[in-house]
Symmetry: C2
Subunit: 138 residues, 2 copies
DNA sequence: CTTGCCTCTGTACCGACTACAGAGCGTAAC
DNA sequence: GTTACGCTCTGTAGTCGGTACAGAGGCAAG
Protein backbone atom coordinates (compact mmCIF):
# COMPACT_ATOMS: atom_id res chain seq x y z
CA UNK A 1 0.00 0.00 0.00
CA UNK A 2 1.43 3.37 -1.04
CA UNK A 3 1.72 6.34 1.26
CA UNK A 4 -1.24 8.18 -0.22
CA UNK A 5 -3.38 5.16 -1.01
CA UNK A 6 -7.00 5.55 0.05
CA UNK A 7 -7.98 4.14 3.42
CA UNK A 8 -11.55 3.22 4.17
CA UNK A 9 -12.23 5.43 7.16
CA UNK A 10 -10.69 8.83 7.65
CA UNK A 11 -11.40 11.39 10.33
CA UNK A 12 -12.06 14.96 9.35
CA UNK A 13 -8.59 16.30 10.02
CA UNK A 14 -7.02 13.36 8.19
CA UNK A 15 -9.15 14.01 5.12
CA UNK A 16 -8.36 17.73 5.22
CA UNK A 17 -4.66 16.95 5.59
CA UNK A 18 -4.64 14.55 2.66
CA UNK A 19 -6.44 16.90 0.31
CA UNK A 20 -4.84 20.07 1.60
CA UNK A 21 -7.97 21.92 2.53
CA UNK A 22 -9.07 23.63 5.71
CA UNK A 23 -10.68 21.49 8.38
CA UNK A 24 -13.79 23.62 8.52
CA UNK A 25 -14.26 23.67 4.77
CA UNK A 26 -15.33 20.03 4.90
CA UNK A 27 -18.05 20.72 7.43
CA UNK A 28 -19.09 23.74 5.35
CA UNK A 29 -19.46 21.65 2.18
CA UNK A 30 -21.55 19.17 4.12
CA UNK A 31 -23.73 21.95 5.43
CA UNK A 32 -24.42 23.39 1.99
CA UNK A 33 -25.06 19.97 0.51
CA UNK A 34 -21.98 19.42 -1.66
CA UNK A 35 -20.84 16.54 0.50
CA UNK A 36 -23.29 13.94 1.83
CA UNK A 37 -23.55 13.33 5.56
CA UNK A 38 -20.76 10.87 6.30
CA UNK A 39 -20.83 7.80 8.51
CA UNK A 40 -20.28 8.37 12.21
CA UNK A 41 -18.63 6.55 15.06
CA UNK A 42 -20.76 5.54 18.03
CA UNK A 43 -19.79 8.80 19.72
CA UNK A 44 -20.64 10.94 16.71
CA UNK A 45 -17.27 11.53 15.07
CA UNK A 46 -17.40 11.72 11.27
CA UNK A 47 -15.83 8.91 9.25
CA UNK A 48 -15.07 9.53 5.58
CA UNK A 49 -15.11 6.73 3.01
CA UNK A 50 -12.97 6.53 -0.08
CA UNK A 51 -15.96 7.76 -2.08
CA UNK A 52 -16.22 10.82 0.14
CA UNK A 53 -12.57 11.52 -0.51
CA UNK A 54 -13.02 11.24 -4.28
CA UNK A 55 -15.99 13.59 -4.15
CA UNK A 56 -14.23 16.18 -2.03
CA UNK A 57 -11.22 16.08 -4.31
CA UNK A 58 -13.53 16.75 -7.25
CA UNK A 59 -15.04 19.73 -5.47
CA UNK A 60 -11.67 21.19 -4.51
CA UNK A 61 -10.30 20.80 -8.04
CA UNK A 62 -13.36 22.42 -9.57
CA UNK A 63 -13.11 25.29 -7.08
CA UNK A 64 -9.42 25.70 -7.87
CA UNK A 65 -10.42 26.12 -11.53
CA UNK A 66 -12.60 28.97 -10.37
CA UNK A 67 -16.00 27.29 -10.69
CA UNK A 68 -18.50 28.69 -8.22
CA UNK A 69 -20.13 26.50 -5.60
CA UNK A 70 -23.32 26.61 -7.68
CA UNK A 71 -21.34 25.49 -10.73
CA UNK A 72 -19.90 22.61 -8.72
CA UNK A 73 -23.40 21.69 -7.65
CA UNK A 74 -24.38 21.45 -11.33
CA UNK A 75 -21.25 19.51 -12.26
CA UNK A 76 -22.03 17.02 -9.52
CA UNK A 77 -25.60 16.65 -10.78
CA UNK A 78 -27.10 17.90 -7.54
CA UNK A 79 -29.44 20.35 -9.26
CA UNK A 80 -30.90 18.49 -12.24
CA UNK A 81 -29.30 15.10 -12.28
CA UNK A 82 -26.01 14.18 -13.88
CA UNK A 83 -25.15 16.70 -16.60
CA UNK A 84 -24.33 15.68 -20.18
CA UNK A 85 -20.96 16.55 -21.68
CA UNK A 86 -22.77 19.29 -23.60
CA UNK A 87 -24.03 20.79 -20.32
CA UNK A 88 -20.56 20.65 -18.82
CA UNK A 89 -19.02 22.21 -21.89
CA UNK A 90 -21.53 25.07 -21.84
CA UNK A 91 -20.88 25.70 -18.15
CA UNK A 92 -17.14 25.64 -18.67
CA UNK A 93 -17.26 27.95 -21.70
CA UNK A 94 -19.36 30.46 -19.75
CA UNK A 95 -16.94 30.24 -16.85
CA UNK A 96 -14.01 30.79 -19.16
CA UNK A 97 -15.74 33.87 -20.47
CA UNK A 98 -16.01 35.18 -16.90
CA UNK A 99 -12.34 34.49 -16.26
CA UNK A 100 -11.34 36.36 -19.41
CA UNK A 101 -13.51 39.31 -18.50
CA UNK A 102 -11.91 39.44 -15.08
CA UNK A 103 -8.45 39.32 -16.67
CA UNK A 104 -9.39 42.14 -19.03
CA UNK A 105 -10.70 44.23 -16.12
CA UNK A 106 -7.53 43.67 -14.12
CA UNK A 107 -5.32 44.47 -17.08
CA UNK A 108 -7.17 47.72 -17.57
CA UNK A 109 -6.72 48.56 -13.88
CA UNK A 110 -3.02 47.84 -14.17
CA UNK A 111 -2.71 50.01 -17.26
CA UNK A 112 -4.63 52.93 -15.75
CA UNK A 113 -2.63 52.66 -12.58
CA UNK A 114 0.57 52.72 -14.59
CA UNK A 115 -0.51 55.84 -16.44
CA UNK A 116 -1.42 57.67 -13.27
CA UNK A 117 1.72 56.56 -11.45
CA UNK A 118 3.95 57.77 -14.28
CA UNK A 119 3.98 61.22 -12.68
CA UNK A 120 4.49 59.87 -9.16
CA UNK A 121 7.95 60.93 -8.03
CA UNK A 122 8.06 59.07 -4.75
CA UNK A 123 9.28 62.19 -2.98
CA UNK A 124 8.71 62.75 0.73
CA UNK A 125 6.30 65.59 -0.02
CA UNK A 126 2.52 65.48 0.30
CA UNK A 127 2.19 66.49 -3.38
CA UNK A 128 1.43 63.33 -5.32
CA UNK A 129 0.41 62.81 -8.91
CA UNK A 130 -1.73 59.83 -7.97
CA UNK A 131 -3.86 61.47 -5.29
CA UNK A 132 -4.01 64.70 -7.29
CA UNK A 133 -5.37 62.71 -10.20
CA UNK A 134 -8.08 61.08 -8.09
CA UNK A 135 -9.11 64.45 -6.63
CA UNK A 136 -9.11 66.15 -10.02
CA UNK A 137 -12.29 67.87 -11.14
CA UNK A 138 -13.03 66.05 -14.37
CA UNK B 1 -23.46 77.13 -15.08
CA UNK B 2 -22.76 73.83 -16.89
CA UNK B 3 -24.92 70.78 -16.50
CA UNK B 4 -22.49 68.94 -14.23
CA UNK B 5 -21.17 71.91 -12.31
CA UNK B 6 -21.08 71.41 -8.55
CA UNK B 7 -24.03 72.67 -6.55
CA UNK B 8 -23.73 73.46 -2.89
CA UNK B 9 -26.30 71.12 -1.40
CA UNK B 10 -27.17 67.74 -2.87
CA UNK B 11 -29.46 65.08 -1.48
CA UNK B 12 -28.21 61.53 -1.27
CA UNK B 13 -29.89 60.27 -4.44
CA UNK B 14 -28.69 63.32 -6.38
CA UNK B 15 -25.10 62.72 -5.30
CA UNK B 16 -25.34 59.03 -6.16
CA UNK B 17 -26.84 59.90 -9.54
CA UNK B 18 -24.10 62.40 -10.36
CA UNK B 19 -21.26 60.08 -9.44
CA UNK B 20 -22.92 56.92 -10.71
CA UNK B 21 -22.81 54.93 -7.51
CA UNK B 22 -25.47 53.09 -5.59
CA UNK B 23 -27.59 55.08 -3.16
CA UNK B 24 -26.73 52.86 -0.24
CA UNK B 25 -23.01 52.92 -0.94
CA UNK B 26 -22.88 56.50 0.27
CA UNK B 27 -24.42 55.66 3.59
CA UNK B 28 -22.09 52.68 3.84
CA UNK B 29 -18.98 54.86 3.32
CA UNK B 30 -20.27 57.19 6.00
CA UNK B 31 -20.80 54.28 8.36
CA UNK B 32 -17.26 52.95 7.92
CA UNK B 33 -15.76 56.42 8.22
CA UNK B 34 -14.63 57.13 4.66
CA UNK B 35 -17.10 59.98 4.35
CA UNK B 36 -17.71 62.44 7.20
CA UNK B 37 -21.20 62.92 8.58
CA UNK B 38 -22.81 65.44 6.24
CA UNK B 39 -24.97 68.42 7.10
CA UNK B 40 -28.66 67.72 7.66
CA UNK B 41 -31.91 69.51 7.01
CA UNK B 42 -34.15 70.32 9.99
CA UNK B 43 -35.97 67.04 9.41
CA UNK B 44 -32.77 65.01 9.24
CA UNK B 45 -32.22 64.57 5.51
CA UNK B 46 -28.54 64.54 4.48
CA UNK B 47 -27.15 67.46 2.51
CA UNK B 48 -23.86 67.00 0.67
CA UNK B 49 -21.47 69.88 0.02
CA UNK B 50 -19.16 70.25 -2.94
CA UNK B 51 -16.32 68.99 -0.75
CA UNK B 52 -18.29 65.85 0.07
CA UNK B 53 -18.77 65.29 -3.64
CA UNK B 54 -15.03 65.67 -4.33
CA UNK B 55 -14.20 63.23 -1.56
CA UNK B 56 -16.72 60.63 -2.70
CA UNK B 57 -15.43 60.89 -6.27
CA UNK B 58 -11.91 60.25 -4.97
CA UNK B 59 -13.09 57.17 -3.11
CA UNK B 60 -15.00 55.79 -6.09
CA UNK B 61 -12.06 56.33 -8.44
CA UNK B 62 -9.64 54.69 -6.05
CA UNK B 63 -12.01 51.73 -5.64
CA UNK B 64 -12.37 51.45 -9.42
CA UNK B 65 -8.57 51.13 -9.59
CA UNK B 66 -8.93 48.16 -7.26
CA UNK B 67 -7.64 49.76 -4.05
CA UNK B 68 -9.21 48.20 -0.98
CA UNK B 69 -11.25 50.25 1.44
CA UNK B 70 -8.29 50.14 3.84
CA UNK B 71 -6.02 51.43 1.08
CA UNK B 72 -8.45 54.27 0.42
CA UNK B 73 -8.41 55.06 4.12
CA UNK B 74 -4.63 55.39 3.93
CA UNK B 75 -4.73 57.46 0.74
CA UNK B 76 -7.18 59.82 2.42
CA UNK B 77 -4.90 60.12 5.43
CA UNK B 78 -7.50 58.72 7.81
CA UNK B 79 -5.07 56.28 9.40
CA UNK B 80 -1.83 58.18 9.95
CA UNK B 81 -2.36 61.63 8.55
CA UNK B 82 -1.87 62.70 4.98
CA UNK B 83 0.53 60.30 3.22
CA UNK B 84 3.63 61.47 1.39
CA UNK B 85 4.08 60.76 -2.29
CA UNK B 86 6.54 58.02 -1.25
CA UNK B 87 3.84 56.39 0.89
CA UNK B 88 1.33 56.56 -1.95
CA UNK B 89 3.83 55.15 -4.40
CA UNK B 90 4.63 52.23 -2.10
CA UNK B 91 0.92 51.50 -1.63
CA UNK B 92 0.27 51.67 -5.35
CA UNK B 93 3.24 49.45 -6.21
CA UNK B 94 2.11 46.84 -3.72
CA UNK B 95 -1.40 47.02 -5.12
CA UNK B 96 -0.08 46.62 -8.64
CA UNK B 97 1.77 43.54 -7.50
CA UNK B 98 -1.51 42.11 -6.20
CA UNK B 99 -3.26 42.86 -9.47
CA UNK B 100 -0.54 41.13 -11.44
CA UNK B 101 -0.65 38.09 -9.19
CA UNK B 102 -4.40 37.88 -9.66
CA UNK B 103 -3.97 38.15 -13.43
CA UNK B 104 -1.37 35.38 -13.35
CA UNK B 105 -3.69 33.17 -11.29
CA UNK B 106 -6.58 33.74 -13.66
CA UNK B 107 -4.42 33.08 -16.69
CA UNK B 108 -3.32 29.80 -15.19
CA UNK B 109 -6.94 28.87 -14.50
CA UNK B 110 -7.81 29.68 -18.09
CA UNK B 111 -4.92 27.63 -19.40
CA UNK B 112 -5.69 24.62 -17.21
CA UNK B 113 -9.34 24.83 -18.14
CA UNK B 114 -8.40 24.91 -21.80
CA UNK B 115 -6.22 21.83 -21.45
CA UNK B 116 -8.91 19.87 -19.68
CA UNK B 117 -11.64 20.98 -22.07
CA UNK B 118 -9.62 19.95 -25.08
CA UNK B 119 -11.04 16.44 -24.75
CA UNK B 120 -14.58 17.66 -24.13
CA UNK B 121 -16.68 16.64 -27.10
CA UNK B 122 -19.90 18.38 -26.12
CA UNK B 123 -21.86 15.24 -26.87
CA UNK B 124 -25.21 14.56 -25.22
CA UNK B 125 -23.69 11.69 -23.26
CA UNK B 126 -22.81 11.70 -19.55
CA UNK B 127 -19.19 10.82 -20.39
CA UNK B 128 -17.19 14.01 -20.15
CA UNK B 129 -13.48 14.65 -20.26
CA UNK B 130 -13.81 17.55 -17.82
CA UNK B 131 -15.67 15.76 -15.05
CA UNK B 132 -13.61 12.61 -15.62
CA UNK B 133 -10.48 14.68 -15.14
CA UNK B 134 -11.72 16.14 -11.87
CA UNK B 135 -12.70 12.69 -10.57
CA UNK B 136 -9.41 11.12 -11.65
CA UNK B 137 -7.32 9.39 -9.00
CA UNK B 138 -4.08 11.33 -9.23
C1' DC C 1 -55.99 66.00 1.31
C1' DT C 2 -54.31 62.44 -0.99
C1' DT C 3 -50.96 60.34 -3.83
C1' DG C 4 -46.50 59.13 -4.80
C1' DC C 5 -41.89 59.44 -4.26
C1' DC C 6 -38.19 60.70 -1.45
C1' DT C 7 -35.51 59.99 3.00
C1' DC C 8 -34.62 57.98 7.46
C1' DT C 9 -33.13 53.93 10.54
C1' DG C 10 -31.72 49.27 11.52
C1' DT C 11 -30.98 44.89 9.98
C1' DA C 12 -30.44 40.89 6.89
C1' DC C 13 -28.31 39.01 2.89
C1' DC C 14 -24.65 37.79 -0.75
C1' DG C 15 -20.19 34.16 -1.58
C1' DA C 16 -17.13 31.16 0.23
C1' DC C 17 -15.30 30.28 3.67
C1' DT C 18 -12.72 30.85 8.51
C1' DA C 19 -12.46 31.21 13.44
C1' DC C 20 -13.80 30.61 17.89
C1' DA C 21 -16.26 29.20 22.34
C1' DG C 22 -17.62 25.64 25.15
C1' DA C 23 -18.51 20.90 25.59
C1' DG C 24 -17.40 16.06 24.97
C1' DC C 25 -14.41 12.05 23.61
C1' DG C 26 -10.04 9.03 23.07
C1' DT C 27 -5.81 7.54 24.26
C1' DA C 28 -1.11 7.48 26.05
C1' DA C 29 1.74 8.26 29.97
C1' DC C 30 2.38 8.05 34.60
C1' DG D 1 -6.98 5.08 37.65
C1' DT D 2 -6.50 9.43 36.50
C1' DT D 3 -4.77 13.08 34.33
C1' DA D 4 -3.36 15.64 30.49
C1' DC D 5 -3.50 16.60 25.77
C1' DG D 6 -5.42 16.75 21.55
C1' DC D 7 -9.00 15.80 18.62
C1' DT D 8 -14.03 16.20 17.62
C1' DC D 9 -18.58 18.02 18.21
C1' DT D 10 -22.10 22.00 17.86
C1' DG D 11 -23.61 26.64 16.91
C1' DT D 12 -22.53 31.14 15.89
C1' DA D 13 -19.92 35.32 14.49
C1' DG D 14 -16.66 37.49 11.58
C1' DT D 15 -14.48 38.51 6.95
C1' DC D 16 -15.04 42.10 2.47
C1' DG D 17 -17.65 45.47 0.13
C1' DG D 18 -21.43 46.47 -0.51
C1' DT D 19 -26.83 45.69 -1.64
C1' DA D 20 -31.64 45.18 -0.37
C1' DC D 21 -35.48 45.61 2.25
C1' DA D 22 -39.03 46.78 5.98
C1' DG D 23 -41.39 50.16 8.31
C1' DA D 24 -41.74 54.89 9.50
C1' DG D 25 -41.68 59.61 8.39
C1' DG D 26 -41.18 63.98 5.20
C1' DC D 27 -42.37 66.83 1.22
C1' DA D 28 -44.31 68.66 -2.97
C1' DA D 29 -47.76 68.47 -6.80
C1' DG D 30 -52.31 68.07 -8.15
Amino acid sequence: MGITSPRAELKRAELAGRLGCNLETIRYYEKIGLLPEPARTASGHRLYSNGDQVRLRFILRARSLGFSVEDVRSLLGINDGRPSCADVKALAEAHRGDIRKRIADLRQMDRRLGEIMAGCTGAETPDCALTDNLFEDR
